[in-house]
């Protein structure tokens, strides 16, 4: 570690500034804390592997047109169901489409689903949880009862019922998954709010005349975000698996979209003879959800050492 510091011109100075025991500004303290968290995260090899996988997913999704040798929907019917070759690294599917290119473009769909679900479900849970925790009384009772009802539902089955009502399609699948995902976030946000609401700084803000919504919005919500981020990251793997399951059942992304679950479903028909058509997309799903699981595990150990099983 010391060699790293010596390599960089002035690197040691930065390190000292970041690790200073008596920071002079708020920014220095905050950056210093993140740096320490990063150092401990870095020492966890599995978590770094997870981070690598997730970053690779993002890169692949952004650079898809540059990486993929073919258009994901380009059909070459004379080249149907081919085995691995230089021209088609992962072979071709039943319509002669290049599986490698479809996997590459499929990363965009996976990322799209995961991000949209997180963007819908996390703020919803945050809003419900912080309102319930801060306002208390009957608001708390009603909101938490609703949360418990949604928690009582098995996720996949509720998502299935919702998609069947809304109609199949990637947008509806996202809505259905988001509706099944927010309750744990509400629980976490409420628990955090309960520990914060009676602290002195909230009383001080209240005495300055801040309204309830202002307190919840700008003083309580920001403090709930870090535990929420960990939970969302840990849930991403589950979201990917449910989305793939919906795709597999034909209720998620519709053809010809190169969604990995739907690709497995198509490959199922030729499983016994052309095994790779179903196998390769499954490996992609597996690697990506493993990446999110490893990353989430590592983040939990760093940000919330209480509850982590540190191996």
């Amino acid at each position: 570690m010391s060699s790293q510091a010596h390599d960089l011109q002035g690197g040691a100075g930065w390190r000292a500034w970041l690790l200073s025991a008596s920071p002079v500004s708020r920014r220095q303290a905050r950056l210093g804390r993140s740096y320490i968290a990063w150092l401990s995260f870095q020492s966890n090899h599995l978590a770094m592997l997870g981070l690598g996988i997730v970053l690779a997913l993002i890169l692949v999704a952004i650079l898809a047109p540059l990486i993929a040798p073919y258009h994901p929907n380009a059909q070459i019917l004379t080249d149907r169901l081919q085995y691995f070759s230089w021209a088609h690294p992962f072979g071709t599917d039943e319509l002669g489409r290049d599986i490698f290119s479809r996997i590459i473009y499929g990363s965009r769909l996976t990322l799209y689903i995961v991000i949209l679900v997180a963007i819908i479900a996390a703020p919803l849970g945050l809003l419900v949880g912080t309102s319930a925790g801060y306002l208390g009384g009957w608001v708390d009772k009603v909101l938490m009862r609703i949360t418990d009802i949604f928690l009582a539902f098995p996720k996949l089955v509720l998502a299935l019922a919702l998609v069947s009502a809304l109609g199949p399609g990637i947008e509806n699948a996202i809505i259905a998954i988001a509706i099944t995902s927010w309750p744990p976030y509400a629980r976490i946000a409420r628990a955090e709010t309960l520990t914060i609401r009676n602290s002195d700084f909230i009383s001080a803000v209240r005495l300055q005349g801040a309204g309830r919504m202002r307190i919840i919005w700008s003083h309580i919500m920001p403090l709930c975000t870090s535990s929420l981020i960990v939970r969302v990251t840990l849930d991403m793997a589950g979201i990917i698996l449910i989305a793939a399951g919906l795709g597999f059942l034909g209720l998620g992304a519709q053809p010809p979209l190169p969604e990995w679950g739907a690709m497995i479903s198509a490959g199922r028909r030729v499983l016994l003879d052309q095994w790779w058509v179903a196998t390769v997309p499954g490996i992609a799903i597996f690697v990506v959800s493993l990446g999110f699981n490893l990353l989430g595990d590592g983040l939990r150990d760093v940000l919330d050492p209480k509850s982590g099983g540190q191996g």
Partner: protein, 356 residues
């Protein structure tokens, strides 16, 4: 006040003002939760039934029917009444076991569910057995060797279990063990030859065939369930081993363990009898929860293995837009889920005196 707190060393929620003996209070508390949650469940399925883009009236009469026919059918279905009345009727019907008729099979939905549910139960039970028999010893080993290589290996195995799409694992299992190695029979519950040899009594083939003494059928059914159950069991294996590990760590740091060791007790006895003995109580909750999760996980596994259970029924109805069947199946899965969750809660509180 002191009188009451004597009874209640740890105040629970609700019913604190009534001075009931603790076990009764717990049961009463749970029953209230159960009823409210069940009502919520019905409300959700009711709302989902209302947002369907297909108008149920037009589905029956067709879109060229004259206006007065549409009105009459709407009235017959009760769809002209206010929503809260419709909901009340819906709840009343469900309580009487009327989930409507399936469009696909033309049977009452409840009949259909009664027919297919045992298959799911059988699959989930065998899978849970698999998960417990492998997961508990793995968790114990991981706890005992915390931080060393057995722990790392078991942790990675658990993470793999959380990350693998179960339907894909099922396909891969079929490809390898059925198509290539020919170790197990293909999809389905029985070979074609054995169909209808045993009268369904419980609907659980393993029990029915054993009771009838049809051992051929029993062995055939067993060979069919091995692969889907072990693949489904991977899900609960990951969860159970992880929880067992953390419970074991908690127990192993207790003083009674040190005492047992100081007394000169054999190490295997300390671990597998004393520590594990105390782990069973919280573990019962975990196993029950994983059982409930398997009922859900079986949806995708059943599709892959053409297993004629509730999940298979649910998805087949889904693809045919048979809403009564979909909502009925969803409700039943939800109700079983709620029931198991509460049961595990109750068991925990009754088994562990500290939780009262």
């Amino acid at each position: 006040m002191t009188n009451q707190t004597d009874h209640l060393p740890r105040a629970g929620t609700g019913f604190r003002s009534l001075s009931l003996p603790p076990p009764l209070r717990i049961v009463l508390d749970l029953v209230t939760t159960l009823l409210l949650t069940f009502l919520g469940l019905l409300l959700v399925t009711f709302i989902i039934g209302r947002v369907v883009p297909i108008d149920p009236v037009l589905a029956i009469v067709g879109d060229r029917a004259p206006g007065h026919v549409v009105e009459r059918v709407r009235e017959e279905l009760g769809l002209n009444r206010p929503l809260y009345e419709q909901f009340a009727i819906y709840v009343w019907n469900v309580l009487q076991g009327d989930l409507g008729n399936s469009v696909l099979t033309a049977n009452p939905v409840l009949e259909d569910i009664k027919r297919v549910f045992p298959a799911t139960l059988e699959l989930a039970t065998v899978a849970t057995l698999f998960g417990v028999l492998l997961g508990v010893p793995m968790g114990v080993m991981a706890g005992v060797y915390a931080g060393r290589w057995p722990d790392q290996v078991i942790r990675v195995v658990g993470l793999l279990g959380y990350s693998i799409p179960v339907f894909w694992l099922g396909l891969m299992g079929l490809l390898l063990f059925y198509a290539r190695l020919d170790w197990v029979p293909g999809p389905g519950r029985l070979d074609f030859f054995y169909d209808d040899l045993v009268d369904p009594v419980t609907g659980v083939l393993l029990i029915d065939s054993a009771m009838a003494g049809e051992w051929d059928v029993f062995w055939n059914a067993s060979s069919h369930i091995v692969l889907p159950a072990s693949i489904l069991g991977v899900l609960s294996l990951a969860y159970i081993s992880r929880m067992t590990r953390s419970f074991m760590l908690e127990q192993l740091s207790q003083e009674y363990i040190t005492t047992a060791r100081v007394k000169g007790m054999k190490e295997w006895r300390v671990i597998w009898v004393h520590a594990l003995g105390n782990v069973w109580v919280p573990l019962v909750t975990v196993i029950a929860l994983s059982y409930a999760n398997l009922l859900e996980g079986s949806v995708l596994t059943e599709i892959v293995f053409a297993w004629p259970g509730l999940g298979y029924y649910l998805t087949q109805s889904l693809l045919k837009a048979d809403m009564n069947a979909v909502l009925g199946a969803t409700m039943v899965v939800g109700a079983v889920f709620i029931g198991i969750n509460l049961l595990s809660d109750l068991l925990y509180k009754l088994l562990d005196p500290r939780a009262r």
